[in-house]
Amino acid sequence: ACSTKDPGTGDSEDAEKGSGNGTIKIGLSISTLNNPFFVTLRDGAEKAANEKGFELVTSDAQDDPSTQLSDIEDLLQQDIDALLVNPVDSEAIVSAVELANNADIPVITVDRSSEGGEVAAHIASDNVEGGKMVGEFIAEQLGEEGKVVELEGIPGASATRERGQGFHEIVDDMDGIEIVANQTANFDRTEGLSVMENIIQSTDQIDAVFAHNDEMALGALEALEAKGVSDVIVVGFDATDDAVEAVEGGRMDATIAQKPELIGESAIETAEKVVKGEKVEEFIPVELELITK
């Protein structure tokens, strides 16, 4: 009587549904919409779906992997033709991907990958790569010599880990670059401000700041400007509208553009192909771009 197989799956009637009547129904599970980055990603997907006349069902996991699993369970109840997943966590998403596999619904991962299960395609830019790009940019600007502050994202979040990892892969090997403070500001602009204020108090010299996202970078920028400091290199991540404007205005030095809108669009396009049985690439990279003035 005991098993670890979902007894509800396998009855093949599901497979008939949806595809017959012309409209394609796509499920999209987003890690969190409490972050402009993902809002833009969703907007991109929505726009593309509207243009094509697809039905798009979106859910928001609020950064909780187990909520995401429930979300996907709920999506799978709704006769979708394809599942787009933006995992909260790449490991934890595996069982949800397997659920979709069992239900014969194709899965496409977005922004973050899945460590297991069958995935038709993965569309993303690479956070580790982005971290490296920042490391290289800062090293170059400083001539491999200077004191750097790192504002970390939410402790334990994958973006925090991966961006930090890429960044450290570059700067840790350089003797001239010293990380004088690394503190979390939880991807939040207000905390970026107050944590930076405090760091300024305790650090005699700061040459550069790497914030794991633009929100924190903009907060840190306010703290520096309020102190009348303007020669510090500030680099963020995401290329949000605010940040790009700050870079263009010369207040910020750089940000990494992940092109979330493009990720969203291309996710829908890929889903269409998969549903129609066309072949797609396993990894569809969306290039990162270093935005500077």
């Binding site: 009587a1 670890t4 928001d60 709704q78 069982s95 334990g156």
Partner: protein, 312 residues
Amino acid sequence: MKNYIKNNLSIIGPLVGLIIFSIILGFMSNNFLTLNNILNLFRQVSVNALIAFGMTFVILTAGIDLSVGSTLALGSALTAGLLTSGMDPLLAVLIGLLIGLALGAINGLIIAKGKVAPFIATLATMTIYRGVTLVYTDGKPITGLSDSFTFEMIGGGYVFGIPFPVILMFIAFIILYFVLRKTVFGRQVYAIGGNEEAAKLSGIKADRVKIWVYSLTGMLSVLAGIIISSRLNSAQPTAGTTYELDAIAAVVIGGTSLAGGKGKIVGTLIGALIIGVIDNGLNLLNVSSFYQQIVKGGIILLAVLLDRSSDK
């Protein structure tokens, strides 16, 4: 008979609410009232329900436990550590549950012996346990826990087609229902919440009872955490964040008074189901997540308001 109805009045409100919501959702979405979705719903509810069962005991003593989510995270991270070290899964899970018991006991001790208000005591341990989890996991999920059938069963298994977490939830429910209704311990829980001084004068060792109550909640939180880890085959350092809110909401929607001394665990089960139905239903109806928050808050309010008016 009159007393029987009166005694159970407090859960009639929530029950009627649950039924009404379910019927409405059944009309609005074809997928809602399918067997598949109902099993799915119950499985989703089981995690919150287990935590909320413990929270019911805590709230009955006029306490509160904000640390459940952090306890869940720490307990399942440590269990995951044991699993990856190759320990027998069953043993690891048992040790994990004991860890939950101990984390809860720490809460209980601070509250009972340290005379710290439960809200503030568990606010502090919420922060501390989360910090310890992050230190232990170095902020990274622990993965590749176990390939054993036993461990996978906990979160992902089925018995006669019923998801295993649902079975765990019902076993816990029956035991705890019995404890509250039929044992001296249950009586003491109610008495402490009703009038702690009077309870003490009657010779009840209030401190001891409280420590047990928080320990129970800690253990149930870790059980919930292990279910999640088993389903995700990984333990997340940020697991359980804000779970305390859903658990408390379930208890209160179920008619248990935050002032203590009054309430029922059946109510909590219904409360957890109402929250589950809201979450699941709004997803099925494809309500945008921003509006979902508005609707969910509104429904919680409605449920409680309806309940209040049935008091009269």
